[in-house]
Symmetry: C2
Subunit: 326 residues, 2 copies
């Protein structure tokens, strides 16, 4: 399986490493909008090429993994690449998925390729688990908790405040809320009752820390609805203690069965991730395999994780899977 | 969706209740090998019929849910019914799945129907999770723990000992093993280190309890490889405190990503079930929907949970799913 990577940030680097773990896969090229000479990749003897070169390589690449951002890159790149390649993206702006799906579907139907969008863990594996659990226990309630982990969006929002040099924001589930859900109590939880936010901020010398803290905790959408703690630390401490990009979370379905709903059940799916981008990359790579297989069987159009038969992700045959793993 | 139930034990009763929770489903009939007059079901105005009657009702039933046992019923019933109906079974003898698959596949290919075998939670949801997690983290290790829950097979084994009137056996994961796995320590665990077994036994008056206990804890395959505790209790206590059929378990994948495997990840899927048969029934019913849909699109042959696109389980359309749940 011959793979191209579009974009070489955290996600692109993660995909490069993930390809190395799968013996049936080969990285053909990394495509970038930057000056290719300025991009050093880890795989020996694989070229870094300008983005436009990709479209001359249709017969050399089985699937393109698009590693750009959801805000600006993917809404343009995914349909453009789906006109020529099987593609995978990690589009994660939940509210805009239907629109993105329609655009990508039109492109992939025209080319006869398979495009799998919104691959990763949320959207992605968490969506899958919400769907399986909700279908199996229709009389029930869903809970999704995120963290403990770094939210890039919230960290960025803090960095835009005047006097802030750098910042890292952790989203943390409230332990009491988690316990109540796991105990099958089906609590009604407000935003504030589900998660807290903890911020580590490096302020410029002489900046007014009280004002910065006030601006953070009252920021609408991002922090105002949460209990937020702010710690001011040095740049050195930030780099030393908060350099990683861990994340994770939990999807829990609590539901009832029986003629009168007399029995309770808890289905829980949880992730504890040392590196959010590398884990997401590993999911992308598994779905890249599925896209190539589906297309080889004549499949085409836009798909999500909900549409892909699980066995298509695996390098094992159906027979092996049934024998060893079912 | 018109459903028939074959067999009215714990599983059949669970399916009956689960159908009631799904508005797009209707129970048409329950089929039994017993005298139909002796079987009282809960759904009003639905007939209980002799097994043979089923084969006259091909045009009245969209899918048959087979609720017999894996040892004797399903190896015969699933292929026989797949010649006439879309079918779902919960065949759970792991070692014989390839053989069962081949028999059912031949029947379902002949009839052009869809047969989904080995549906439930293990095999079933646990298999799915082993597959997704193993594919996403190829450099890793799988752990499956069962319990705390009642093992019917082990309870039956105790009941066969001379002087035992009744018994209930609980399989319990060893907490230290679970903690080590969750901490990403990737321990090598022997059978004894993973689970303990706890038995509640009602002995006949005057029976030799020391001998019964010895026969239990030394029983090959069932108990000899485990640390087993035996409690003798009265029939009254057994009925009062051990009447339920709870179960559950955990599938954990611990794996590494990064160029040099420098980041660790834990994927965990867990079930806590008040009623093992009712939960299994709820899974069967969700896959019944998928079987009917797949067949309506021209699909046929034997399938497992690994082959079924997740969205086929849900009563929601692809559009709704993408909008509300992805």
């Amino acid at each position: 399986m011959r793979i191209g990577i579009v974009g070489y940030g955290n996600l692109g680097r993660g995909v490069e490493s993930a390809i190395r773990q799968n013996k049936d896969m080969k990285l053909v090229a990394v495509f970038t909008r930057r000056d290719p000479a300025s991009v050093k990749i880890k795989t020996a003897d694989v070229p870094v090429l300008p983005l436009e070169e990709a479209f001359k390589m249709e017969d050399q690449i089985d699937v393109m993994i698009l590693c750009g951002g959801s805000a600006k890159d993917l809404p343009e790149q995914t349909p453009a690449f789906a006109k020529h390649f099987n593609v995978i993206d990690s589009f994660d702006t939940h509210a805009r998925i239907p629109e993105h799906f329609a655009n990508v579907d039109a492109a992939a139907r025209e080319s006869g390729k398979v495009a799998v969008i919104s691959v990763g863990w949320d959207p992605g594996l968490f969506s899958l688990n919400r769907m399986y659990a909700g279908t199996i226990l229709p009389d029930g309630k869903d809970y999704t908790f995120w963290g403990k982990g770094v939210s890039q969006g919230h960290s960025d929002a803090i960095r835009r405040i005047e006097g802030v040099l750098d910042a890292r924001q952790y989203t943390i589930p409230v332990p009491e809320a988690l316990s109540a859900v796991r105990a099958g109590e089906n609590p009604e939880l407000s935003t504030r009752q589900k998660h807290t936010r903890e911020c580590f901020v490096v302020a410029a010398e002489g900046a007014d820390e009280a004002r910065i803290e006030r601006e953070i905790v009252t920021m609408p959408n991002y922090f105002a609805d949460y209990d937020t703690t702010v710690h001011f630390i040095s740049m050195e401490e930030l780099k030393r203690d908060h350099g990683g990009i861990p994340h994770g979370g939990v999807v829990i379905r609590s539901g009832k069965t029986g003629w009168e709903g007399e029995h309770s059940h808890i289905i829980e799916y949880s992730l504890k991730l040392d590196s959010n981008p590398e884990f997401t990359s590993s999911v992308l790579v598994a779905y890249a395999r599925a896209a190539v297989r589906l297309n080889a069987e004549g499949g085409f159009g836009c798909k999500t994780v909900l549409d892909i038969p699980p066995a298509y992700l695996s390098a094992m045959s159906g027979e092996e899977l049934r024998k060893t793993l079912l």
